[in-house]
Symmetry: C2
């Protein structure tokens, strides 16, 4: 009876955890990843217990890594038999993980993980299921935290393992390895032991086999619990900071032609930790991923803010950050070269009924004149096509870069705004202002490409003739 | 020559660190705590090097702990001689740390630390100096992080040691223990070794002697560096969160008569991590300190938010949190008892020229009538004394609790606001609204005690007679 009760306590703890993080809903179909080890066998038994309560559909998936020969075959056989006893469909997938690891330049450990999650997801889709359950426990979480703490991977690294991520759920994350093994012992349930877990050549194994047992015995017997608790707080802190970074990002950063511009004034107004988060985002966007992007790269750009105009730092993936007059520009080196070669280009006159290829500025422009037939046409809402009231145009139409005296109307009260002030308000960095093509009627800017048109030319019910202008980006000439 | 260069590198690193965190300014007077161990001897030599650069005044302070008999005497002698060689004033203070530890219920380690900082501060004041320098290094920081991580002391615990705190500065925090010992070896400078640092009975020593060396050797040789780096990020994250907690605190929490009220709607609108910070603040304010206040107490109150009205949880120091209709009340148990006993009390008529002791509501009130002599008097700006335009009062003046139909004027446009709506806007919890004493003229509320007066009665240039009313809190009758 006492045995029964302990098992019940663990089950209730897991149910509470599932509910706290909404891991499972009634009617879920769950792919259960089962290696045959204690954790995943326990996970399977628990989900079988919960089957009725949550009306679950289950399928067991076992991945054969093509490592550890006969032992691995025996693992497969063990899981197949267990699934059959429990009357749950069984899927096995074989992969040559060592070969995959070599191909991708990953460790076998990393490659195995990538392969497993990929297979689980394939089976999930194939069965039309909703979730993938994996068997991480508290000890795994504590090990991960220490592993990252010792290797230096910042806040994200020490925020532990999360209860769920996309379709993947981890219902055993509230249990310790001891609890899991006691549960299996009480049930008399056998499990397989992966000998590689005991090889001390892996850092993770060293933490599991040496560091944590020593700490639990000699320093604090609830160390795992405490590490997991602190990781949870770090995770929440991290989420909060991330949210604030997203909020501030748009205020601080603007992007044009592949060049990210960080406005110095706006940047200084935010907290340092948010500054770092914003710079990290910019670099990651340019690098198209987090790989190889480290805190030290962020620091380099941070320091650049206090240096003089023209100073630059090199980052991975040929990314370069340059201190400009009013902030920092970050881009791929090729973009920088292009922008350094820029010069003021000549104007081009454009007329309705024609298409012009303006290679120098990288645009093709077409102009067409049509009668305004009430309600027959919808003004398109996109950045490439704009309509203008043709009869309000007083001069020849030019495509050109800015000139002094340029202005536009930005509200229907006919108030003029200097183009220069408009650029300043929009935080367009000085260096790129000359590069922005304009459609103009004398000094009146009809359209700032990629931005707004002047209110003056907006099509209304009174408009008789509509000038439809379409632009298309093309490869720049010789750049 | 190579020796000389390494030493120079370390010195430059320390100078950069001092400048980054503004640890030292020109002309500082610095108390240097020197135990005689490698770290503090190095600190002293470094500060001597920097003496000219920063125009420093130095004094060496050694604390004799009354532990370790002869060895401790030799330590004292060693530091005295070193100070004399360097021609720096030397102060020694003896304390019976074991006795102090027993008295305060602290470990000898904790007691020693408290005693040292106290003595350093005393000497600082006595010399009229500006700073106290202590010799923590990177390893100390990493050890502290692991110590707290294993014991579970949340984000603050793993944010490491800070470069400065009030008057205390830590210029060696950018150096590792190895660097420090190499520096001394190159100089041929001797130092004392505290044998208790090698006793494995202390958790900290276990981390220093066992855990970190194992990790550096087997997992990552720059582990100390990485732990310190991550701690710095946690510290910044913690600061950012703390700042946001302070910003939200006043929106979410109001306090009246020793009862903190947490408004449920406002509370739900903030992030969980900020919610926790706010609750922690409330509990710490009531507990008058952080001692014994743990994350689990915060969790108890968090959970209370989802429970039904009337549920309560007990916290340390006789603090109790109760779920009320519109939020949570947190207070000392005695306040709760008092507030449960409350009943609507009778009105009292008050007249100018008199003082009334209203024991039932815990106030003494005095009223005085004076002529308004232009410019002769300044309207006092405090919560205890208010002035009213006497000639605008139409009825007898009562002190009473609220009644239906009560209103006040909250702007000079003579718009009336229902008292009920005013209370709702100010987020005064329902339960306490009946308890707030009002000074009234019919249904017109002249003054909400502890809050505002009605615009209607404000003294202006036109006022002929001023009613000056003063209230003073007194002990409540029989409560």
């Amino acid at each position: 009876m006492i045995e029964k009760k302990k098992e019940q306590v663990m089950l209730e703890k897991i149910i509470a955890y599932i509910e706290k993080y909404s891991l499972i809903e009634r009617g879920d179909g769950i792919v259960v990843g089962v290696s045959g080890g204690a954790d995943s066998v326990c996970l399977l038994l628990i989900l079988v217990e919960l089957r009725k309560r949550f009306l679950l559909d289950l399928v067991v998936v076992h991945v054969h890594h093509g490592i550890r020969g006969k032992e691995a075959d025996e693992d497969e056989e063990f899981v197949r038999n267990l699934a059959s006893q429990l009357e749950i469909p069984f899927v096995v997938e074989r992969r040559d993980v060592p070969a995959f690891a070599r191909e991708c330049g990953l460790s076998e450990e990393e490659a195995g993980r990538a392969v497993r999650y990929e297979i689980f997801e394939q089976v999930r889709k194939c069965y039309g299921f909703t979730k993938v359950a994996v068997a991480h426990n508290k000890n795994d979480c504590a090990e991960t935290v220490l592993f990252h703490l010792f290797r230096g991977s910042g806040l994200t690294g020490i925020s532990g393992i999360s209860a769920s991520r996309e379709k993947v759920i981890r219902p055993l994350l509230c249990c310790s390895r001891d609890e899991i093994e006691r549960f299996l012992a009480e049930r008399g349930q056998l499990f397989r032991t992966d000998r590689t877990n005991f090889l001390e050549e892996y850092s993770r194994n060293k933490i599991r086999l040496r560091v944590l047992p020593y700490v639990a015995k000699e320093i604090n017997d609830r160390a795992v619990e405490h590490i997991v608790g602190t990781a949870g707080m770090v995770s929440e802190a991290q989420e909060f900071i991330e949210k604030n970074v997203q909020i501030m990002y748009d205020k601080v950063v603007s992007m044009r032609n592949g060049i990210y511009f960080i406005n110095a004034d706006e940047f200084r107004a935010v907290d340092r930790i948010i500054q770092r988060g914003i710079l990290y985002q910019v670099i990651v966007r340019l690098a198209k991923g987090k790989k190889d992007i480290e805190q030290k790269h962020v620091e380099l750009v941070m320091e650049l803010m206090n240096r003089s105009v023209g100073k630059e730092v090199m980052l991975p993936y040929d990314i370069v950050a340059v201190r400009s007059y009013d902030g920092i520009q970050v881009c791929k080196r090729e973009c920088l070269v292009r922008s350094k070669q820029k010069k003021k280009w000549e104007f081009v006159e454009v007329k309705p009924g024609n298409t012009y290829l303006l290679e120098e500025i990288g645009y093709q422009i077409s102009l067409e004149l049509v009668k305004n037939e009430q309600g027959a046409m919808q003004i398109p809402k996109n950045d490439c096509t704009k309509w203008f009231d043709y009869d309000r145009i007083n001069n020849v139409i030019l495509v050109r870069s800015r000139q002094s005296g340029d202005y536009l109307e930005i509200n229907d009260k006919r108030g003029r705004k200097k183009l220069k002030d408009y650029f300043i308000d929009k935080k367009i960095p000085r260096d790129v202002r000359d590069e922005i093509p304009l459609l103009t009627d004398g000094n009146h800017v009809m359209w700032i490409f990629g931005d707004r048109i002047s209110e003056r030319y907006k099509v209304s019910e009174m408009t008789k003739n509509i000038l439809m202008v379409n632009i298309m980006e093309v490869k720049k000439n010789g750049r």
